[in-house]
Symmetry: C2
Subunit: 217 residues, 2 copies
DNA sequence: AAAATTTGTTAGTCTTGCCTAACTTTTATA
DNA sequence: TATAAAAGTTAGGCAAGACTAACAAATTTT
């Protein structure tokens, strides 16, 4: 049985791996994600290696083992199912669900998660557009194209958010944006890269940082 | 902010107090309830005293302070709301809910509990017939009359169970018993106190220990 | 009232998960 | 390629929550 802390390390490793694409995960980056010091992350890596959830040698590469990855995906499954529950059934807004799900994801009961999944009608995506792994750990592929990648004059559809923080999500709402919205890129400023977009007749300017956190197709 | 462990100690103190009626709570009894050694319970009592959740002096009486009691009741509220959710919405059986609720009761989010309460339509009792405290910490009084107190020839209604263990609850079901059932006491054996009862035309024999764990009115 | 038993307390130790400070290895830069 | 910077590691320490062993106080039994 894994502790909450161990689960959080595995989840962070998976997240960084998927986000970094090809890049290697480092002790410092892992520590930053978990709000701990590198020394602490290093201790835990040894422990997780000992339990064979990660592979790594001193000063070497860090990788989840198959077992570690399976555990991590299961935690993501629980997290996203709980987010969906909070959003769909309890009427939470999409910027409130993440924090509570961070706690709920550690509840240990396979039966609970299976029943929750069924109760929610086997959802494929959470309120942020992220795919929910099924019982086997399979999930639809993650989007890679960002709003910042869209050419001037082109239109796209918003399918997910990369940043899950309240501050970002509330800003998204304020701009009149939401999942499945059609977004047209009107122009980009040479000066600082600011992007002008149009959503449902309404035009706005957004920063490149903002545009890098919206996934589109 | 209280840790899960601290919350469990407060909850145990409340439970023992309510169960013992007038009796005083002791270190040993508290320890037994929490499956720890008396030395461990003693350490925690000092800590909870320091934080003014309990009153006590060395070798003296243990009592929850008002603050401690409020915290404890809130945990009970969360526990019973979750049990009700699992039973009503997720289709758990009444002998499965307790274990999972032991975990869920520690989730920290007032908003979550209020919304859950509303979602369940402000239930007054959990699946075991125990009263659910409201936001103010008020709850209907606990039943005191047990099946073992019922006279021969008298009838009563089962309103709650005292023991929440799977083994007990499954046995209750096996005997064809459930909340709100009418139970008639037919006879009691002089030899070992075994009680003969009748429920919906069906007669059965139950031990005194069993009868002490069924609350009736 | 003395002895025996039960109940409660203390001291010292362990593990987990975190920290700081100092050090080593790797990588980037001049 | 030598040096500086960044990344990673180790040693030692701390708090929480548990344990055992030894001891002290309170209660019960004789
Ligand atoms: Mn989330
Ligand atoms: Mn999400
Ligand atoms: Mn329960
Ligand atoms: Mn209950």
């Amino acid at each position: 049985m894994l502790s909450n802390t161990e689960e959080n390390y595995l989840k962070a490793l998976l997240k960084i791996t998927l986000l970094n694409e090809n890049e290697q995960v480092g002790t410092n980056e892992l520590a930053k994600h978990l709000n701990v010091k590198p020394a602490t992350a290093n201790d835990m890596l040894k422990k997780l290696k000992e339990k064979s959830f990660v592979e790594y040698e001193k000063y070497g590469k860090i990788n989840l083992t198959d077992e570690g990855k399976t555990k991590a995906i299961y935690i993501v499954r629980k997290h996203r199912l709980w987010e969906t529950f909070l959003y769909e059934k309890l009427d939470f807004s999409w910027d409130e669900v993440h924090e509570v799900a961070e706690q709920l994801e550690h509840i240990q009961s396979t039966k609970l998660i299976d029943k929750l999944d069924k109760y929610l009608n086997f959802p494929l995506f959470d309120p942020h557009g992220d795919p929910i792994p099924n019982t086997k750990g399979e999930f639809l592929s993650i989007y890679k194209k960002k709003l910042s990648d869209v050419e001037i004059g082109q239109s796209c559809k918003m399918v997910a958010v990369r940043d899950n923080s309240s501050s970002f999500l509330q800003y998204v709402v304020k701009l009149g944006l939401g999942l499945n919205n059609q977004i047209k890129v009107i122009s980009k400023q040479d000066f600082d890269g600011t992007i002008e977009i149009e959503v449902e007749e309404k035009k706005s300017f957004v920063s490149t940082k903002f545009a890098e956190n919206l996934f589109v197709i």
